[in-house]
């Protein structure tokens, strides 16, 4: 199959970007989307043109490194699928595809389709953990965790931190990402001691990073490759609200 690609090219963060058109020829339907780009890039290099930069690593849909917009949809048209796991059999010969990086103020473009998602790391650094140093743990079976709680914690813990939720959100909100971690840890007895403080700190950090507010649109859930559900945002809001009247110590930054 043959495709026409319009790809965002931007040499670095400071430069101005633009869409450039490329032809992807003789594409095998069993290729993954990134393998298709590999083929395009090999062709570009052989012509003496610089290849398209895109982030990728495991190519198994679990590391969260890859991701860009395909025709305006984060990770492309297949639900619950990262671009590395999206195969060309889901496209038609002659398709015209627009590839753009995640667009959000908190995710500045590094080059072409590569963005800087370090804001996510900073959100986790602000309380997205349980404070337990190596060596001080008790036996793993001492605290029983009902299966349904462990399962729900796991549902949220599956987040791969790819940033699709932010890219899809008209407000560029990180609520699904932040909520997933808050919900994961709130579901477990081990997460209780720091539960409220965690919610306040993480939400405040998301604001500081200039992610937008959540207005319950649901685009994030629709594109999430791991199927993280909107309820984590409700859970986050619940913990945040409770904490703001019972636990709040520091002011919450608004921008």
């Amino acid at each position: 199959m043959n495709l026409t690609l319009h790809v965002w090219r931007q040499p670095n963060a400071a430069a101005k970007g633009r869409m450039v058109t490329y032809q992807a020829k003789d594409i095998n339907p069993d290729m993954s989307f990134l393998e298709m780009l590999d083929v395009v890039n090999e062709g570009l290099i052989n012509k003496g043109e610089e290849p398209i930069a895109f982030d990728n690593d495991c190519r198994e849909g679990i590391c969260g490194t890859c991701g860009f917009m395909i025709n305006g949809i984060a990770h492309g048209p297949l639900p619950k699928t990262t671009v590395c796991q999206l195969h060309m059999r889901h496209f038609k010969d002659g398709d015209e595809l627009y590839l753009e990086p995640w667009r959000a103020r908190a995710f500045p473009v590094v080059k072409d389709l590569v963005v800087d998602r370090s804001a996510f790391d900073r959100i986790i650094a602000n309380g997205g953990y349980i404070s337990i140093s190596a060596g001080s743990a008790q036996d793993g079976n001492n605290i029983l965790v009902p299966k349904q709680f462990a399962d729900r914690a796991m549902d949220s813990a599956q987040c791969i931190g790819c940033g699709a939720c932010v890219a899809a959100c008209p407000n560029a909100s990180a609520a699904l990402f932040t909520g997933a971690k808050i919900h994961h840890l709130a579901m477990l007895p081990q997460g209780q001691p720091e539960r409220k403080k965690r919610a306040v700190r993480m939400v405040a950090q998301a604001n500081t990073e200039l992610f937008g507010s959540c207005t319950n649109i649901g685009e994030c859930e629709a594109v999430c490759p791991k199927g993280i559900q909107l309820e984590v945002i409700a859970a986050m809001n619940r913990d945040f609200l409770r904490a703001t009247w019972s636990e709040r110590r520091e002011p919450v930054a608004s921008d």
């Binding site: 679990i62 699928t81 790391d121 349980i130 190596a134 914690a153």
Partner: protein, 637 residues
């Protein structure tokens, strides 16, 4: 050079405890005076960086990915072993130790393995306390399953994403220390050289992958947790970015490289579908718990699986290994798959595949149970192949998955360069010639949470470290070397892409130093690698410049190192005139086609010393002794 593994004496059960007591401690108030560099942020690197920061050391942690959470540990699916004996099925520390030594085909160091088995129980406790959502029983206790090659249920898991959850646990612990100001996390930065001053590892030279800036960093000790070198094969289950550059450059600075030919082929991967293939995807071998492996009895049978009646199917693992059946260790399962495909009984278009069939399990347990156990794996399979494994049997084929070899370390995880520690898959230490399933996560976390934080203290407390700065000639020389290599790669402007070289190199290594090896084949491979390497340095085309993000340039440096490492792998495989674990030399097999070890002559760790560019490396041997698990031929019949 005399290799001193510094193994403890006395009874093995007490060895680590005694050792911990004998090691020197760094006064709590002095810990903050030490700077430690950790390269890599996978299970080993992240857990080590976090734990050392908890103790009070100043840590700088580097990774080439955009975030430490991306490290390839994240892709581990099946689980992590621990000798908890929660299932009351006869497990114990000694049994885990025994299984690991035996599974490694008697090519691992006994005291290391025993320590690993001991620590396994602490890892689970630590991870549970961090909030890792392990699978649970309805009563709230931790669930276990049995896993490739084990006859007890000692594997803890979080659906099919155990590596992800353990890594996120370690990553969160790491971010907690970033928050506390004890870890400086430096992502999108690649280590390109090790700096050795007065014989001690004192720093590294890195390249910032966004700006291209070459920088020096000083330290009192350097820790490499940079993973394995499976990508030497081009097609492997490793992430695209996984590379051997850090350990290879350390090797060239004097660290010995041990057992490079011990590579593991994972039996359950999705078969190659075309020459554009960029990587192989592993399906957790936990699938072998419920799936039954078979091929048609007839050669070149082109019927669909449904059309092949029961009587014309060959469940070859169940037939040949009645007591272990589909759960034989990885190397055995892989070799058997290759054997039936070589006989012309492989399935799928390429004939390089065998069926992994769940229809019996679905009938016995119901679709819902199977979905609960393997749902995400089935989804992944369908996404990649376009086939539904609930209805059609999966097709699987072996692929390179893990490398048991790595930098040589002593019992303290220190390499032959004082102050250079190597942890996780990057070292060679615990798995011998073959790693058992669910043991990689265990080793990475054992090294990072519970071994290195003690042993590094002993090194720091007993070593006099001069004050240094990055202006020293050693740093300048290393920086210039890195800059020179970058310039050279950018100036060749030949006719072939980096990937095309990598692909060709991978084919050579897979063909001659993969699932089975022969002396003439290996000799041929060494020649082929050398000539391809020469072509690479004359004909590779790396565009762009070194002062910006340049993915071809990053890749070119890594592939350049893979060329040299591939040659060393072949030399090691050629030197080892026996078959053991993942190393199968066709000349050395039993009449039934099983691996034939030669304990009299090869019961040693082969540690190779770099002797200079284009010089034959020097082999050093660390003899192995077995006081607790007596070497026997592995039998899974």
């Amino acid at each position: 050079m005399q290799l001193d593994p510094r193994v403890p004496s006395g009874p093995i059960e007490k060895a680590w405890d005694n050792y911990k007591f004998e090691m020197k401690l760094v006064n709590p108030a002095n810990k903050r005076k030490y700077n430690i560099i950790v390269v890599g942020s996978g299970l080993a690197g992240a857990s080590a960086a976090a734990t050392m920061a908890e103790l009070g050391y100043n840590v700088k942690c580097f990774c080439f990915q955009d975030s430490p959470r991306r490290a390839h540990s994240i892709a581990a699916q099946g689980g992590i072993n621990a000798a908890k004996n929660y299932q009351n099925d006869g497990d114990s520390i000694f049994r885990l130790f025994y299984d690991t030594v035996k599974g490694g085909d008697f090519r691992a160091r006994e005291p290391n393995v025993y320590r690993l088995a001991q620590i396994s129980v602490n890892i689970i406790d630590q991870c549970v306390a961090q909030g890792v959502p392990f699978a649970r029983e309805y009563g709230g206790t931790l669930a276990n399953r049995s896993f490739g090659g084990a006859q007890v249920s000692r594997t803890f898991y979080a659906r099919g994403q155990t590596g992800q959850q353990l890594l996120l646990g370690a990553y969160q612990a790491l971010e907690r220390q970033v928050d506390a100001g004890k870890v400086e996390m430096i992502p999108r930065t690649e280590m390109l050289d090790l700096v050795v001053i007065d014989g001690k590892a004192r720093g590294i030279v890195t390249r910032n992958l966004i700006t291209g800036k070459i920088e020096s960093h000083i330290a009192d000790a350097v820790v490499l947790g940079t993973g394995g070198y499976g990508n030497v094969y081009y097609l492997s289950t490793n992430a695209k970015g996984s590379n051997a550059t850090a350990i290879w450059r350390a090797y060239k600075r004097g660290a010995l490289f041990a057992n490079p030919c011990f590579t593991q082929i994972h039996p359950t991967c999705i078969p190659v579908s075309g020459n554009y293939q960029s990587k192989l995807t592993l399906m957790s071998e936990s699938l072998r718990n419920d799936g039954r492996i078979w091929v048609p009895k007839k050669q070149h049978d082109k019927r669909t699986p449904a059309e092949i009646p029961e009587a014309e199917r060959d469940y070859y693992l169940e037939r040949r290994y009645p007591s272990f059946g589909n759960l034989v260790p990885r190397d055995v399962a892989s070799r058997n798959a290759k054997a039936v495909c070589d006989e012309g009984r492989g399935v799928g278009e390429s004939g390089l595949g065998v069926y992994l069939d769940f229809s019996d399990a679905i009938q016995r347990l119901g679709k819902k149970t199977i979905e609960e156990r393997y749902g995400n794996l089935f989804e992944m399979y369908e996404r990649i192949t376009g086939e539904n494994p609930y209805e059609l049997p999966m097709r699987i084929y072996p692929a390179i998955h893990y490398t048991m070899g790595g930098l040589w370390v002593d019992y303290q995880l220190m390499s032959t360069i004082p102050g250079l520690f190597v942890i996780g898959e990057a070292n060679f230490s615990d798995h011998g010639a073959n790693r058992l399933g669910a043991s990689a996560l265990m080793q990475g976390l054992s090294d990072g949470y519970f071994v290195l934080p003690y042993t590094i203290g002993n090194y720091l407390a007993s070593t006099k470290l001069e004050r240094i700065d990055t202006g020293l000639p050693e740093f300048r020389a290393a920086e210039m070397g890195v800059e020179q290599m970058t310039k050279t790669l950018l100036s060749i402007r030949g006719n072939r892409t980096v990937s095309s070289f990598h692909r060709e190199l991978g084919k050579i290594v897979w063909e001659y130093c993969g699932m089975s090896r022969t002396a003439p084949g290996l000799e041929q491979a060494i020649e082929k690698i050398a000539s391809l390497r020469e072509e690479f340095w004359n004909n590779v085309n790396v565009l762009g410049n070194g002062e910006e993000m340049n993915q071809s340039l990053e890749n070119a440096g890594r592939v350049a190192d893979f060329f040299e490492l591939a040659e060393l792998m072949c030399r090691d495989a050629l030197d080892r005139n026996e078959s053991c674990g993942g190393h199968f030399r066709e000349e050395y097999q039993t009449p039934e086609g099983e691996a034939l070890r030669n304990d009299a002559n090869y019961s040693y760790v082969a540690a190779w010393e770099y002797a200079g560019q284009n010089q034959t490396p020097v082999l050093h041997k660390e003899p192995l002794t077995f006081d607790y698990v007596h070497p026997s031929q592995r039998s899974y019949k």
